[in-house]
Amino acid sequence: MSHITVAASGRAFQLLFNAVRDNFKLSSSDSGKFSGFTANYSVALHLAGGSLSLNDDNSIEVKDMDVVWDSLTVGVCFTLGQVCVGGFCIVPDPTDGCLVRAPQYCIGGPVCIQPDLSGQVTSEITDLKARLVPLYFNNPLRKPTDSDVDAEIAGHSNRWQIFIDPLNVDVSPVDVSATAGSLFEKAVNDAIDNLMSSFPQWAKDLIKAILGPIVDVIKSALNIAGDINEFLDDLLGNQFGLLAIIETAVAQYFARNNPIYDFEDPFQILDPSAANNPIPVKIPIRNLAVNINSKEMVVTADVGA
């Protein structure tokens, strides 16, 4: 039988979890070359909400935890399809086609946009199932000659840490709003206007007329079969692999870097008292174990030598 048993109720555990969850921040950026265009993104996100449950199989489970995209910019560069005048047939081929064509005068060039899509993307961690793992942290800064009190004063104590070790992290596909598609379309329209800023209005109107609806220009340039927001879904979630990046970051965050609970070893059970004990009373903790049932988290340990 263990020397020490401590339990945290489901509600207490929720508070511990919330504190860890709320400190999760992820910033990521990348760029890539794709078929017919280049793209980049920069994102900052955090976690919020979620429904936590403690299970009798010694696991915890969080469902529907929001991934809140605090900021997101997506940059895309593509070459504007050639807009040409001339090139008409002067001498037709009697059988088929054209023998002689007029020269063509074309306009073209790169179009680059960087719309701010902050707040236009939602996703969630649909399921995070984990077990709790206690790990002992040997503080590398602690000197071999340090006593426990010396280490505590220097802030170099060894510690027991309890981590949420994810068994699986499932992230829902990135959901880009239709508004983001509109913002993207507007950005392309503005970019083309900007590129033509020195042109007379009639030339701008002619080029816009030849180009046709901007949404079709974008779809053609970027090989988009569906909606622009679906393209962004795929670009961010799959092409740039943001879903996998989020999954990995969340798993590493909980499993490696951010214990849900930790305390120093030896554990202080009495503060120093001038009358009885001039130095704090500490007991070494050994054999720390963590178990979960549907009602609470139970931590057991022995007092070691």
């Binding site: 008409f88 005068y105 046709g212």
Partner: protein, 236 residues
């Protein structure tokens, strides 16, 4: 980085077959096989010599002679292959083919003369187009243009509509063919969409000039002053 376009394409509102610029091209056929020597002249600068071999064995039915490229010595011009014997560009075309003289970029203002080397006769003079020659013109600036023939006859009028941004990409309608006859142009009044091709055919020796006389700046556009009328210089 702005869109790439030669600014002359946007500012060229006068086309003159005798002083070739962007948006206009002259088409000539050399039915007689042989060697031809051409000279392209821009303003008062010395002419640039080029050569055309009209060869029945050539599969080429179109030779494109980009006049400013000749002047700049760009041997990469399509169909241009200088030889060790003659440094100018050499083009080869089948007698049943056509040679297209055009200005790809720049201010233009080229005249072209081509002689048959062996017969020593002028086969083509861009300042006096003959039956069989063609002028291909493209007007993109909306407005009203006057078309005159230096050989005389009443002018024609061309109306280029203001572009309409629609639900589908605009594509110019089929080309319009205009006959240049002793009695003037037929048709004499032409309504075009911007970029719609015009092909001028000649029944008489001709030099065609197309000039913008009233720009159309579209709905809500700021009216642009019309080009000043030139005073007629009395013949001396």
């Amino acid at each position: 980085m702005p869109l790439t376009i030669d600014p002359h394409v946007l500012t060229q509102t006068t086309l003159d077959s005798g002083s070739l610029t962007v948006l206009a091209a002259l088409i000539h056929s050399f039915p007689e096989p042989g060697q031809y020597r051409g000279v392209a002249t821009q303003g008062t600068s010395p002419g640039t010599v080029f050569f055309i071999s009209v060869d029945p064995n050539s599969p080429a039915l179109q030779a494109d002679v980009d006049l400013p490229a000749l002047q700049n010595g760009r041997s990469s011009t399509q169909g241009c292959s200088p030889t060790a014997v003659e440094p100018g560009c050499h083009f080869v075309v089948n007698p049943r083919g056509h040679v297209v003289f055009f200005v790809s970029s720049g201010a233009g203002g080229f005249t072209v003369k081509v002689r048959n080397v062996n017969a020593n006769v002028t086969s083509f003079d861009s300042q006096q187009l003959k039956p069989g020659d063609l002028l291909a013109a493209t007007l993109i600036r909306p407005g009203t243009y006057s078309v005159t023939n230096a050989s005389g006859g009443p002018p024609a009028q061309v109306q280029v509509a203001y572009p309409t941004i629609g639900n589908t990409p605009f594509r110019p309608p089929d080309t319009v063919t205009i006959q240049c006859t002793p009695n003037g142009f037929s048709p004499a009044s032409i309504a075009l969409q911007p970029g719609q091709g015009q092909i001028y055919q000649f029944a008489i020796p001709s030099r065609i000039k197309i000039e913008l006389i009233k720009p159309d700046d579209g709905p809500g556009g700021t009216p642009t002053p019309a080009a000043p009328k030139r005073k007629k210089v009395p013949a001396t």
